[in-house]
Amino acid sequence: MSEELPTLEDFATEVKEWVTKNKPEDPGFLLPQSFMEVGTDEQFHFLKDWQNKIYKAGYLGMSWPKEYGGRGMPQAYQDIASRELAKQKTPFLVNTIGLNWAGPLILHMGSEEQKKAYVKNILSADEIWCQGFSEPDHGSDLGNAQLKAERDGTDFICNGSKIWTSLGTYAKHMILLARTDPNTNSKYEGLTFFLSPMDIKGVDPVPIKKATGEFGFCQTYFDNARISEDCIIGKEGEGWLVAMTTLMFERGATGGQAGGHATMSTTIDEVIDLAKRTNRDGNISTQDPLMRDELVKLIMESRAMGLNAQRARIPALVSERPSSIPMSGKLLGSEYAKKMGEVATSLQGTNAVYYVGDDNAIDGGRWPRGYFNAFSGTIGGGTSQIQKNIIGERVLGLPKPPRPE
């Protein structure tokens, strides 16, 4: 039975109406802004229910195959739905790792059994996924993963730990990069990629309290945890290749994106709006001469990033150092986000001291919390200081420091 597709225009109208009618009310507690910041059960269940509702309405996984829970429609429909969800500032989709990494990976190279077992529950948020790449001793050096998985018949016995596992306590599965052969020439060999269960003996996600005072990450300990060889995706010993494929999915998969948005980003307009609602030195904050200068600087930073992206598409205007703009994006974006949180907090006069949980906290304390959380951007994925080394060496051609003898 083939379904008649609506026109894109009609579909856009339909989605707009649905989102307007169904977007959640203010839950009465402060929501996190990304899956890395989910710290309480009430936040988690609220977000899980929201994703489930979108899936049931048919606005998620629209371009994924029908037989695995998708709708088999052109990606254009999903893009319209995703844009509308972001436009109306609805909460982000909590099963971020599942939707953006695990799901596309399983569709791309998983077995028929794996596709049937996992994909639909990723979309419905019935089964949450987390990621097991980073380890405590190897921050950004993914290829150096040391968590041991030793073969024992048709099983693997896992020992070691993974860190920064967001949603670790809620996840049913983990995409896990483990070392199955410690005796290889290159560190990139001997790694194997698993779709690993979280609810088994010997796997223990321990929440890490962040600088914000909240939870959101775990360190996940593996103590003789036994997983079946059926959990392998790709081939044993070729985990590095699978990991690289997974990372590619972060920016749009070949099989189409699941849809929805992963973060609720704060815009400079919201900070200006805040400035107009707060007071400094007897006047609204937008009338304070120094705050005006701070706000204009932020607006300019934001504008510059947007215009940089435009200019980067014009080869003649980036010919001297073509990699400069792309390689600086992470540094500039993360530092900007942090500064925005800091300025937004300082706009509030004495009220700047209130934090999440206090009745007097402006906007529920999201601004100081946003400032603290923004450090995840300036630290994670290579600190700003490392970024400057990389840009200095690769873009400007400056020498590395001499290696100690």
Partner: protein, 373 residues
């Protein structure tokens, strides 16, 4: 009507930019800049003639007045390499004077002066006064109309390239309102010019006394259009100074990198020290932002929102050029403190460019009114 992208860059602009980059690199290595600093005129008339032959002096002048009828966006592609190579010519002042004439000149004035500019006549701009205000409507010089003549009085400062100019365009107040007076021929000869000592030694700057100078009333531009013309002039001046500063920053950064990759201290190249490496990256990212603002402003200078675009370009380019020049001196150590080191050339140029037509703080103050109120 098609909507323009935030940054448009046509094939024509691309060609002009490439030609201008090569031209300026060939004609104006630092050694030539230093030679010209020692000369009376400050620039090589042969280069000026070549620029005229290339058609650069009439780029933004309509075809009916002998130009090529392009826009300020094309002028930017010339001004950026000029700034990069510190190539001093009356290009910017003459181009801006022509735009003033286009915006506020009478038909007779346009017909009489614009073709001459396109062919290489130099026009100097006498807009600044001793009070140091960037506001172009703050004018103390006056013109007294008597029949067919206007008698001028007052002092103008920082009039660049006044000496070899065929004409000077000066702001005065007539009947309490801003007016643009064109001084040519005898009138121009009658003004008293005194060379000023300015920080940017590639510039030739003069104090000009208008006292007692009489010009025909027909040499006053249309006063009803003058305020709007001056407002546009402010934008265009910011645009071209931003272009010069972006170019200057690029050259200054390369001067820094050259030293950081060749100079050794404590058995290592100094560029391997993070304090110098990270700061160089700050200059780079600041320059990229400035250049993005610049080409956005070049695209939209005369559109709605053009003022915001131009002020952002001027604020960013002034600040990053000043920062780059400052760090260039510091990073060259003891050598940086000497006149022989090129770092001072860029720092001096940055001081000029920053403090003409409003510095970073000034433009952010204006932007605050445009964006927050």
């Amino acid at each position: 009507m098609t909507t323009k992208k935030e940054i448009e860059f046509t094939d024509e602009q691309q060609q002009l930019l490439e030609i201008a980059e090569n031209f300026c690199r060939d004609k104006s290595p630092v050694s030539a800049v230093r030679t010209q600093i020692e000369t009376e005129g400050g620039y090589d008339p042969a280069i000026w003639k070549e620029m005229g032959d290339l058609g650069w002096l009439g780029i933004a002048i309509p075809e009916e007045f002998g130009g090529s009828g392009l826009s300020m966006a094309e002028v930017v592609t010339i001004a950026e390499p000029l700034g990069r190579n510190l190539l001093a010519t009356p290009f910017v002042s003459t181009t801006l004077a022509a735009q003033l004439c286009l915006d506020a000149g009478t038909d007779a004035q346009k017909t009489s002066y614009l073709p001459a500019v396109a062919e290489g006549a130099i026009v100097a701009l006498a807009l600044n006064e001793a009070h140091g205000d960037w506001n172009l409507s703050h004018i103390t010089c006056t013109g007294e109309v008597s029949g067919d003549t206007v008698t001028l009085s007052g002092q103008k400062v920082q009039v660049t390239d006044a000496k070899g100019a065929a004409a000077i365009v000066a702001t005065v107040k007539i009947n309490g309102k801003p007016a643009l007076a064109i001084l040519t021929g005898e009138a121009k000869e009658k003004v008293t010019m005194t060379r000023e000592t300015v920080i940017d030694e590639t510039r030739r700057s003069f104090r000009v006394s208008l006292d007692g100078v009489t010009i025909p009333a027909s040499n006053i531009m249309d006063q009803t259009k003058t305020e709007a013309a001056l407002a546009r002039h402010h934008k265009l001046s910011c645009l071209l100074l931003s272009a010069e500063s972006c170019g200057g920053t690029a050259a200054c950064l390369n001067t820094i990198l050259e030293y950081l990759t060749t100079r050794r201290q404590f058995d290592r190249f100094i560029g391997s020290y993070q304090s110098l490496k990270h700061t160089s990256v700050d200059i780079l990212t600041g320059m990229e932002a400035a250049r993005s603002f610049l080409y956005h402003a070049a695209t939209h200078v005369d559109d709605e929102g053009g003022e915001i675009a131009v002020r952002m370009a001027k604020a960013q380019s002034s600040d990053v050029f000043s920062f780059a020049g400052d760090r260039a001196i510091q990073f060259h150590g003891g050598f940086g403190f000497t006149y022989e080191c090129d770092a001072q050339l860029y720092r001096r140029r940055a001081l000029w460019n920053t403090n003409q037509s409003g510095d970073g703080a000034y433009h952010r103050k204006r932007l605050a009114s445009l964006l927050l109120d």
